[in-house]
Amino acid sequence: MSNKGATKSAGSEPTLGTDPFKDTVQRLRETFNSGRTRPAAFRVAQLEGLGRFLREKQQLLQEALVQDLRKSPFESDISEIILCQNEVDLALKNLQAWMKDTPASTNLLTKLDSAFTRKEPFGLVLIIGPWNYPVNLTLVPLVGAIAAGNCVILKPSEISKGTEKVLAEVLPQYLDQSSFAVALGGPEETQKLLEHKFDYILFTGSPRVGKIIYQSAAKHLTPITLELGGKNPCYVDDNCDPQTVANRLAWFRYFNTGQTCVAPDYVLCSPEMQERLVPALQNTITRFYGEDPQNSPNLGRIISQKHFKRLHELLSCGRVAFGGQSDENSLYIAPTVLVDVQEKEKVMQEEIFGPILPLMTVRSLDEAIDFINRREKPLALYAFSNNSQVVNQVLDRTSSGNFGGNDGFLYMTLPSLPFGGVGKSGMGRYHGKFSFDTFSNHRACLLSPSGLEKLNEIRYPPYSSRAQKLLRWAMSSHSCTLL
């Protein structure tokens, strides 16, 4: 589906029986085969175009984010636009270095050769973006895919309609349209898109849909990165200042109205800590959003009716310590803290993805760690304590995509850290150089001199006993493998 059709509403009807994406896929493949996207100069031009888009259309993007999620300019800037700009700048600055062949150390017998790993584009990349950070989670992968020399089809989420429109109608004007296209549609169209062969797919979304993407990729043996989610536990030790913890916890929980894959999902703490944490959280929330959060310009809204209804149901789990108000008309849910929550309740069974924070009590650190390890590996894990040993224990005895000690997902702002999940929370990673590496084929190259054949004699049959002895000796020296 070319960008020309983007003016239709998201989910433009495909003509019966025809494949709306066939021409685009073919066109982009031809472009890739022509070698157009490979030279550094081309990649730089594209990245500069993307940079200009972010600068010139900043306001347009902010408006789209307001439309989609009622995201405040502050949040739009620091969690979407600035991070994208940063990635563009980083790629522009480092592209030459990233593109260089990586030399490999050689062993005794191949010391005379040149051995290196060459990074090459895969070809045609598909990036499927979600609705919660619709700019960041489509454009940051895009930076990596372009930097690595690929052609890209971007499939933004149809749920964040405002952003989808900007990406479909405006972004292509800044990029080379023979190597970049936006595909539109809902689940049905995405299925159709996935019937085509891609050379790499990066998907951000739920584990449920992740499985579907993975199955589709398997049909074509397409390598993938899946950025999924889960319930991100947050352990709060007794040894800490509850107000500081509450500030940090609340900020990361209610940012983007809780619709963040790495947000702290639930808290594990002792009953005593809970007593102190609840009022501290209330204090923080009032400071952040005022007495009437519904009127705070700093609190966003739920993305859609469907999610609003889902979250509304969760409000009846456990007991509302404070918050709990909602307004269906404006898709508003108040920053809420739940207590007395049972493990079997719905709020503890699915990723919350909203401004609701359940507190669960545990009797000890061990019990908390057991609780965490009984469940699927989360995308993020947090531990708060003045005692660094406690933090390190949680880190060492659990597994998760990422880990934050005494703070929330601040690590997301560092492109020097790889971002990705493990187990059901995902596979593969990106950000910064990791994006470039993810979207590249790492090709092992060995250049052997054509002379010096005498040295090779030893490896050819027939193997006399003398040759065998000599060969064994030569090969058993340090780090030798097959002759």
Binding site: E75, I82, Q215, W251, A444
Partner: protein, 485 residues
């Protein structure tokens, strides 16, 4: 089978496989196993492929010993958390990437190098602190049996299990949940493995295959070229995933190449190839018949003899091969070497690019410009120029495919990385909460500018960053004190 897989999982949960010392001990034990039972291994593996003991040693055993030694030497360094660059905002925090084991690794081996292709992944899995289930190929029966017998004698019996069986057992095994699957084999089964993995969201490394092209330029020393090609092609009777599958060259070179290969074969294996202890056999009757059918109707320049009773197929060269013929449609995996004439290097490049991306690409040439162009304009898992096979032997190079020749890579540190999860960590202290006021609502536009500055500048030189941070903190403290009151 359910019980065995559960037992392995429980063993992993105990945490035993994680400490460095444990991993080193297991690897050392594995090394002892190979040393102490060298003879038994050579005999077993040799029996599966009618391979001389020396060839088993030089092709399989030595590789594993080298890999284990490499791990033992480097593991202590690899498992340490690696610091990452910080921004001004995170200057005082501990920022690093920590490698952790994934859990239970499933290794599905292949029959052509039955020892290496089960053991090399296992070495990596152990090094990364995982438990493992190994499913050797049932076609290389003797190796499968001896692995099932020996591994439990040397390794922790609950953490590492060998499960033997055929397609049925493998299908059953794939229904279970693993934390990573490394499969070596063909693309058709690769898709099945990937589809099974998808159900559990299990990441996979697929070492598949394809037709690895071998381009021979004019003006080469054909003596040397042909010896190297013959060596690589006929190793293991052509049953090597990175064997040069077919040759591309200008028509005028065909005869010379054919002649020199013929001479080399004689040199390597003598007049009566069947009698040579260094020449292997085809693994089974099915593959024998398959390879036999590839020769049918072809112009045999040399070779072509077969003997079903011993599954012997002579080194065979086909010339003027039609790209549409059967022998050019599937990975040969046998001692048949088609030569496909092309007009020039350009045509060779187009020919290669019209087909699936191969596991290996070989280029023989003196012309550096041509070599560069050929590498630049094609894609493959690996490349060796002016030789064959060798890029496999360097564990400093990743070994893996691309497109239908596979995904992911391993060997050496790449194994360690493949079987680890690299967990990003940011550790702060609960102090200096004042600095956080910058990010808390209610927000303002001026905050954004400051935030941008603090977030974006990355620092290598810690001292400079710290100095700047201290200065800014002082400024910020004053600013916010004033602003808040």
């Amino acid at each position: 089978m359910e019980r065995e897989v559960q037992r392995v999982r429980q063993a992993f949960r105990s945490g035993r496989s994680r400490p460095l010392q444990f991993r080193l001990r297991q690897l050392a034990a594995l090394r002892r196993m190979v040393e102490e039972h060298e003879k038994d291994l050579l005999v077993a593996i040799g029996a599966d492929l009618c391979k001389s003991e020396f060839n088993v040693y030089s092709q399989e055993v030595i590789t594993i010993l080298g890999e284990i030694d490499f791990m033992l030497a480097n593991l202590p360094e690899w498992i340490t958390p690696k610091p990452a660059k910080r921004s001004l905002l995170t200057m005082l925090d501990e920022v690093c990437v920590q490698p952790e084991p994934l859990g239970v690794i499933l290794i599905i081996g292949a029959w052509n190098y039955p020892f290496v292709l089960a053991m090399q992944p296992l070495v990596g899995a152990i090094a990364a602190g995982n438990a493992a289930v190994i499913k050797p190929s049932e076609l290389s029966e003797n190796t499968a049996k001896i692995l099932a017998k020996l591994l439990p004698q040397y390794l922790d019996q609950d953490l590492y299990a060998v499960i033997n069986g055929g397609a049925e057992e493998t299908t059953e095994l794939l229904k279970h949940r693993f934390d990573h699957i490394l499969y070596t084999g063909n693309a058709a089964v690769g898709k099945i493995v990937m589809a099974a993995a998808a159900k559990h969201l299990t990441p996979v490394t697929l070492e598949l295959g394809g037709k690895s092209p071998c381009y021979v330029d004019k003006d080469c020393d054909l003596d040397v070229v042909c010896r190297r090609i013959t060596w690589g092609k006929l190793m293991n009777c052509g049953q090597t995933c990175i064997a040069p599958d077919y040759i591309l060259c200008e028509a005028s070179l065909q005869n010379q190449i054919m002649q020199k290969i013929k001479e080399t074969v004689k040199e390597f294996y003598g007049e009566n190839i069947k009698e040579s202890p260094d020449y292997e056999r085809i693994i089974n009757l099915r593959h024998f018949k398959r390879i036999q059918s590839l020769i049918e109707g072809q112009k045999i320049a040399f070779g072509g003899e077969t003997d079903e009773a011993t599954r012997y197929i002579a080194p065979t060269i086909l010339t003027d091969v039609d790209p549409k013929s059967k022998v050019m449609q599937e990975e040969i995996f046998g001692p048949i070497l088609p030569i496909v004439p092309v007009k020039n290097a350009d045509e060779a490049i187009s020919f290669i690019n019209e087909r699936e991306k191969p596991l290996a690409l070989y280029i023989f040439s003196h012309n550096n410009k041509l070599i560069k162009r050929m590498i630049d304009e094609t894609s493959s898992g690996g490349v060796t120029v002016n030789d064959v096979i060798m890029h496999f032997t360097l564990n400093a190079l990743p070994f893996g495919g691309v497109g239908s020749s596979g995904m992911g890579a391993y060997h050496g540190k790449y194994s360690f990385d493949t079987f680890s999860h690299h967990r990003s960590c940011l550790l702060k202290s609960l102090k200096r909460e004042g600095a956080n006021k910058l990010r808390y609502p209610p927000n303002s536009q001026s905050k954004v500018k400051l935030a941008k500055f603090l977030l974006l500048k990355q620092f290598n030189k810690g001292k400079l960053g710290l100095l700047l941070l201290t200065f800014l903190c002082a400024v910020a403290a004053v600013f916010f004190k004033v602003g808040y009151h």
